[in-house]
């Protein structure tokens, strides 16, 4: 807008103190972010690896018995890892289609009055703290799941009744939590699709739904993938909301079993742990950290490749 040139590194042409100090402050802030990520990684690795070698990598990652206060203690987190993976996958399976379709509704189909109702509701959902989701899960999902459990497993001798706190309750809570992220980013990316594509498709005779699903959604693909990655990150990192609704026993992740996630495993036992138990909790944190890095890199790489391959925006 203005003609005056402002260089972020400052120059001798307009070398006032303000310029230089401002430039240093901005550089400092940028460096702070890099330092934070680096030091978190270093801290996790330093605190997480001793227990890994004390317990043994194979026994830790592939053992199924988690009895940290027994004598002798056994630390096997295979079921915990599987629960996190499986739970996140189910939450995405449930949340992303609903989120994308709501985004399509908001971007393409809603009249301004309807959008004026739905959009603030979505934004409000995004602002609710996660503990509230946990409390709502306890109030709404747990009794529902308990009734379902009593109906499905009536008379069963082998099923351990969990009172409604199981994998399905946690997955429902996670799906509701990732909805606002998915909806807002998908809607933004749908709006960013050039209007010529839509006009061309409609002009060629495609119906509205065909245009949306065959032209607009693939064109907004990278944005929708971003929303999926962010939703995935939120789902796998959520601790407070699901610790109240998931039951916290270490079991194989079947829908009506009481399960423990990587995050809730750390949260539940951190306060009372000591010695090797505490170090093992840090190792679980390291495993979680590696998972998140892995998911972020793989998914980002995937959609970048997809963009390059298709040549779409």
């Amino acid at each position: 807008m203005c003609e005056k040139k402002h260089s972020i590194m400052g120059s001798r042409i307009d070398g006032s103190m303000t310029e230089h100090t401002a430039a240093w402050i901005f550089t400092g802030c940028g460096l702070l972010a890099v330092i934070a990520v680096f030091s978190i990684t270093l801290y996790m690795v330093l605190n997480g690896t001793p227990a890994l070698f004390k317990v043994g990598i194979l026994e830790f990652l592939f053992g199924t018995v988690w009895k940290p206060t027994a004598d002798p203690a056994s630390f096997g987190i295979l079921y915990v890892i599987l629960t996190s993976v499986f739970g996140t996958f189910l939450a995405i399976l449930l949340g992303v289609p609903i989120g994308v379709m709501t985004a399509i509704f908001l971007a393409e189909i809603a009249s301004p009055k309807a959008a004026a109702v739905v959009r603030p509701a979505v934004e409000l959902l995004a602002g609710i703290p996660s503990v509230i989701y946990g409390l709502l899960g306890i109030l709404i999902f747990n009794p529902l799941m308990y009734r379902a459990e009593q109906y499905l497993f009536a008379g069963s001798k082998t099923h351990q009744f969990t009172g409604g706190a199981n994998l399905i309750s946690a997955v429902l809570v996670l799906a509701v939590m990732i909805l606002p992220t998915v909806i807002s980013i998908s809607e933004a990316s749908l709006r960013a699709v050039p209007k010529e594509l839509k006009s061309a498709s409609l002009a060629l005779g495609a119906s509205r739904m065909q245009t949306i699903f065959k032209v607009l959604v693939p064109a907004a693909g990278s944005g929708i993938m971003t929303s999926v990655v962010l939703g995935c990150g939120r789902a796998i990192g959520e601790a407070m909301a699901i610790s109240l609704v998931s039951g916290s026993s270490v079991n194989f992740p079947l829908p009506f079993h009481s399960v423990r996630f990587l995050t809730t495993a750390i949260v539940a036992e951190m306060s009372y742990s000591q010695g090797l138990h505490r170090e093992v909790l840090f190792t679980i944190g390291l495993v979680l950290f590696i998972f998140i890095m892995f998911i972020n890199t793989v998914l980002t790489g995937m959609f970048r490749k997809g963009v390059g391959g298709n040549g779409r925006a």
């Binding site: 203005c2 423990r260 000591q274």
Partner: protein, 418 residues
């Protein structure tokens, strides 16, 4: 909430795809609103920007085709080229003027703000330094006054002349540090005791470590700490090595179930069978046909340790829910028909029903009488009798067994020893 909204939106979208109507509704563009607000802000707050305001007015009247504050271009905008260029040039000139004046004024403002910020920071720094030394001086003065008061109060409260004599001597010379080590279940009690004792004798430091009952007794026998906390009775071999069992409080664990459950008491065997997973329906324990939901605490919890140890079911319990706080267990049991859980005796309220074990209700009297089986002593073990310990440790035990100590024990929810 958003699932029905989304379903509703799917329904609406299916409905609307049948109609191909496009409406254009006149809307007030958001950029317009923000530019109007910006103008008002500048007018009211900053006098020096009056020039900016008039310059902007000039700019907007000069180019009627352009929206104020917006840089968006549309393909459909049909303006002849030369008019566009002339309007642009006028815009640039107007903008340059405004920017030059704005930066001049802003430079002056910036300098003033910088100076004010530096001055404020200097004042705060000086104040902090000054205040620190002042509170330090005030603090030591206050603690002296407190020690005086404590001495006076102690002299007044004692009934035993010998005790009065000991405390008098101690009130003058109590300095040093005491280490307590041991049970995590006693954490709340140990921390409260340390705080209260340090408040009473400000020159004494009480440090508490929580390494486990067995580790605590080992440390006190080895002389690495002054007092070993243990949430169980001492074993014979530990007593043989010279540890003396000083019971300071008793902790009760109540077994609770939801209020609608018909069962009111269980035997010890039934409780063990429920928690190890052999009994899975309340029918087998004398109640209705309702599945049992076994609720417990997480692995490091002291309550869980005590519960499993007293019943002898360590590592064989099958929990359906491992919750990480007493409050969570209470909430779960209160809201789930058929649930059973264990909590500390002091938190039991009307939202849950406490079961009787082997015919004895869970109450203080039964625990003191020894008929309620889920109770454990809190022991502060010393190597040798209390009278053989240092004056600091003796003062600590005096405090615990005194009236103030009983108040402290009751305040953390434990039961005093008579």
């Amino acid at each position: 909430m958003s699932i029905p909204v989304s379903l509703y939106s799917i329904g609406i979208s299916l409905e609307l795809c049948k109609k191909h109507k496009t409406k254009t509704i006149f809307t007030i563009r958001p950029e317009r609103i923000t530019s109007i607000l910006q103008m008002l802000y500048r007018k009211l707050i900053s006098r020096s920007c009056r020039i900016v305001y008039t310059a902007r007015c000039k700019e907007s009247t000069a180019a009627p085709g352009r929206r104020a504050g917006g840089d968006k271009k549309r393909y459909s905008e049909a303006e002849p080229e030369h008019e566009k260029q002339a309007a642009e040039k006028q815009n640039e000139q107007g903008k340059e003027e405004t920017i030059m004046k704005k930066t001049e004024n802003r430079d002056g403002q910036l300098k003033f703000q910088k100076a004010a910020a530096l001055l404020g920071a200097a004042v705060l720094a000086l104040g902090a330094v000054g205040c620190g030394s002042r509170t330090g001086a005030a603090g030591t003065g206050k603690t002296e006054a407190v020690t005086e008061k404590a001495k006076a109060a102690e002299n007044e409260n004692t009934e035993n002349a010998q005790a009065a004599g000991r405390e008098n001597a101690k009130g003058e010379a109590l300095k040093g540090s005491i280490t307590l080590a041991g049970s995590t279940s006693m954490e709340k009690f140990a921390n409260a005791l340390a705080e209260a004792f340090m408040e009473k004798y400000p020159d004494v430091t009480v440090q508490a470590e929580f390494t486990g009952s067995s580790a605590g007794i080992e440390e006190v026998l080895a002389g690495q700490c002054d007092v070993g906390n243990s949430s169980r009775n001492l074993k014979e071999e530990e007593k043989g090595k010279g540890a003396v069992e000083n019971i300071v409080a008793i902790d009760g664990i109540a077994v609770v179930t939801d209020p609608s459950n018909e069962v009111t008491d269980l035997s010890k065997e039934q409780l063990i069978e429920i928690y190890t997973g052999k009994v899975t329906n309340w029918e087998e324990a004398g109640g209705a046909d309702l599945p049992v939901v076994v609720v417990g605490r997480e692995a490091g919890s002291g309550t869980r340790g005590a519960f499993e140890e007293i019943l002898g079911v360590e590592d064989t319990c099958k929990y359906a829910n491992e919750l990480d706080s007493t409050g969570a267990v209470m909430a779960k049991v209160a809201s789930t028909p058929g649930a059973i859980g264990y909590v500390s005796l002091d938190v039991v309220d009307d939202s849950v029903k406490a079961l009787a074990l082997d015919g004895a209700e869970a109450s203080e009297e039964n625990i003191k009488a020894g008929s309620y089986l889920l109770s454990r002593p809190f022991v502060m073990a010393t190597k040798g009798e209390i009278s053989e310990q240092s004056s600091l440790v003796q003062a600590l035990f005096d405090y615990v067994y005194s009236a103030e100590g009983s108040e402290l024990v009751k305040s953390v929810g434990l039961i005093t020893v008579d």
